[in-house]
Amino acid sequence: MRMVIQGGRVIDPAHQTDSIADLFIADGQIAGLGRPPGGFIPEQVINAHKHIVCPGLIDLCARLREPGQEHKATIASETRAAAAGGITTLVCPPDTDPVIDEPAVVEWIRRRAKFAGQARVLTLGALTHRLRGGHLTEMAALQEAGCAGVSDGGHPIASSRVLRRALEYAATFGLTVFLTPLDPELGNGLAHEGQVATRMGLSGIPVAAETGMIARDLELIRDLGVRVHFGRLSSSRAVDLIARAQAEGLPVTADVAVHHLHLTEMDLTRFDSRCHVRPPLRGLRDQAVLRAGLASGVLTALCSDHQPHEPDAKQAPFGDTEPGISGLDTLLGLSLRLVRDGVLPLPALIERLTWGPARILGLDRGHLGVGARADICVFNPETDWRVEPSVLNSQGQNTPFLGWELQGRVTYTLLEGHIVHEGEG
């Protein structure tokens, strides 16, 4: 299939491209930008006037709930939501049921995703058996099966001895290690430790629950040469720690979930369980520093931290509800809002959603170079839309952003040159 996307503003941060140009696609790959390759006759023309044309988004953390929690969502339902949101690659953490700690699970997820055909699903293998923090998994086998890295899957490893060994073993095979820094004991609370939690009588999660883990982890990796990615930072001090480590030349990267850039602890004041997330929403200053970290590039990726739930999981007193926000539907809209808020320019934002996460994963994706797979997102940045249950594609409708007015709607999503989503601009 040969296709041309005509007249759009093509933003390809990997090649510092930002210009009005035609993009040519052939055999699932980028065939040319600006001028067509010799003898190119398109079978399909997509008019992208006044639209942005960029690489398909890469979401570093999305729970698809399958296998194990299909009552919340399925690979089919969530990859469809991803396609509608302009996301072409999803990274699934290993805390599925069964845990992604053996090749069979990796293979099973890949087959289900391929069958759905809406988005590419990459898996992270577990660092330890059943994510219990004891025995190492067969990481080499997981790598051969296709895992994009290894991870604690949201269950930080308490034992420094086990973590050190796991990091060394992962480094042996050149695997990137994805960690979620939150001390399991000190982090065992419901809300950011501060004046809001105090007023509401919710158990607090101090910032030290996050920074203490990061500081330990940074010391452990100092001489190992292992690449470590810290997922979902929530505090200003965590950003400082990562910035300092990067300045020292440690091979560490970090991301932030987009809801942490729009919400704070103040959003909990009505015991709104939709704002129950881990790590918790913190203060205004934390939000400002996280935003600045995204702009400066200390944080090289912005993700949805997608966690769809069935309604019952949120219909209870705050402390009895499950944490997490369903985020695939709003990732692009909430991200574009950062541009409107003056946090960072559009090309830099696109970079944090495409080339940034691709580099963390060590993948030749997230860019529009000739020969690259044609994973493309075409969106109208001016379209206003209101977040309402009727427009959400995820099976999980647990979002605190209901009622928000966002801008930016995806008109086309292409996965390896195939149109997987076509919407109204």
Binding site: G194, T198, R199, M200, G201, P317, D320
Partner: protein
């Protein structure tokens, strides 16, 4: 919190009683004055008023309680309501049923008021958001968040002894971190314009940025008790030792226990309060608990009148809302 809080109607009248935070001086004095007028009922030969005749009050206790549940029950009965007690804390049969299911089941029994205690902060507010509009929800304690009827009976008791709030210095001593009583009482005292509210506790038992609630923080008991008019002692739960918050009951008593000797640092006419049940020899010495300055049992008695007042005020507003005669 704004006036649009779920416990108020559009005119700012109480539909539920969930938290003291966000209420006005007027709300509180209305309750206190009503309670004052109801206090005499207990001294009559027939201890009943017809206010809630034909109404059904459900005591929904997901956490064990004797005193609070009993005084709510007595309050409802003295107002001629029918009372149903459900102690869900002890009923394992309910395990697996969600709070919402429990709520809808009891709602189906055509009740008018839920009195609810639950171990999760925000549980009463959750209930109030989901009940049918004719039902009033009274919070009898939700997690570490609020215990507003206790706070009202506390300020009622204080007012009977020391009516001039702006001149008062009040110390709250003990486990502030886990105390819904402390949080609600601090709000009530602030709204009533209390001169100086102090909290006295080791750092492990104080929540983060507690001074933002408008209190002065003391870590040493003798310093904090100096010249206070009211001492409120809080109950110390045994499980605090296991959570590494305190080394032992002995050390806590030595540092923060209220003895006659320490009480002497307060004003000579200072009163001693405790929400109960008391741990003798842990937070308070028996000689103080049973002594002349103690108003602990008076608090229990006052609890009935205060809860009667809150029940009649909230259900009265519901009656107006649903077009019935109040």
């Amino acid at each position: 919190m704004s006036a649009t809080h779920i416990q108020l109607d559009s005119q700012g009248r109480l539909l539920h009683f969930l938290t003291i935070e966000g209420l006005t001086h007027r709300h509180l004095t209305d309750i206190l004055d009503t309670a004052e007028s109801l206090r005499g009922v207990a001294e009559r030969r027939v201890k009943k008023l017809p206010t809630l005749h034909g109404k059904t009050v459900v005591n929904l206790f997901f956490e064990a309680s004797t005193r609070t549940r009993t005084t709510f029950e007595l309050a409802a009965k003295r107002l001629s309501a029918d009372v149903l007690n459900l102690n869900i804390a002890t009923s394992s049969a309910v395990k697996g049923e969600s709070l919402l299911d429990t709520l809808h089941n009891i709602e189906a029994m055509q009740c008018d008021m839920f009195v609810m205690r639950h171990s999760q902060s925000g549980a009463a507010e959750f209930m109030a958001r989901h009940v049918k509009p004719h039902i009033a929800v009274l919070n009898a304690g939700d997690g570490c968040h609020a215990h507003p009827t206790q706070a009202m009976l506390d300020v009622f008791t204080i007012r009977r002894h020391k009516p001039d709030f702006p001149s008062l210095q009040i110390a709250i001593v003990g486990d502030i971190l886990h105390s819904r009583v402390a949080r609600s009482l601090i709000h009530a005292l602030s709204i009533l314009g209390a001169g100086n509210i102090r909290v006295i506790a080791p750092r492990t038992l104080l929540p983060a940025q507690v001074e933002n609630l408008g209190v002065q923080v003391f870590h040493r008991l003798p310093e904090g008790l100096r010249d206070v008019d009211v001492v409120v002692m809080l109950r110390l739960q045994r499980e605090r030792m296991e959570g590494a918050l305190l080394p032992s009951e002995q050390e806590f008593f030595q540092q923060y226990g209220l003895t006659e000797e320490r009480l002497a640092l307060a004003k000579p006419d200072a009163i001693v309060m405790h929400p109960g049940p008391i741990n003798r020899g842990v937070e308070i010495d028996s000689r103080v608990a049973d002594g002349p300055r103690s108003v602990i049992l008076e608090q229990v008695t006052n609890g009935i009148a205060v809860r009667m007042a809150i029940m009649s005020i909230t259900l009265g507003h519901h009656a107006r809302l649903t077009g019935e005669d109040a």
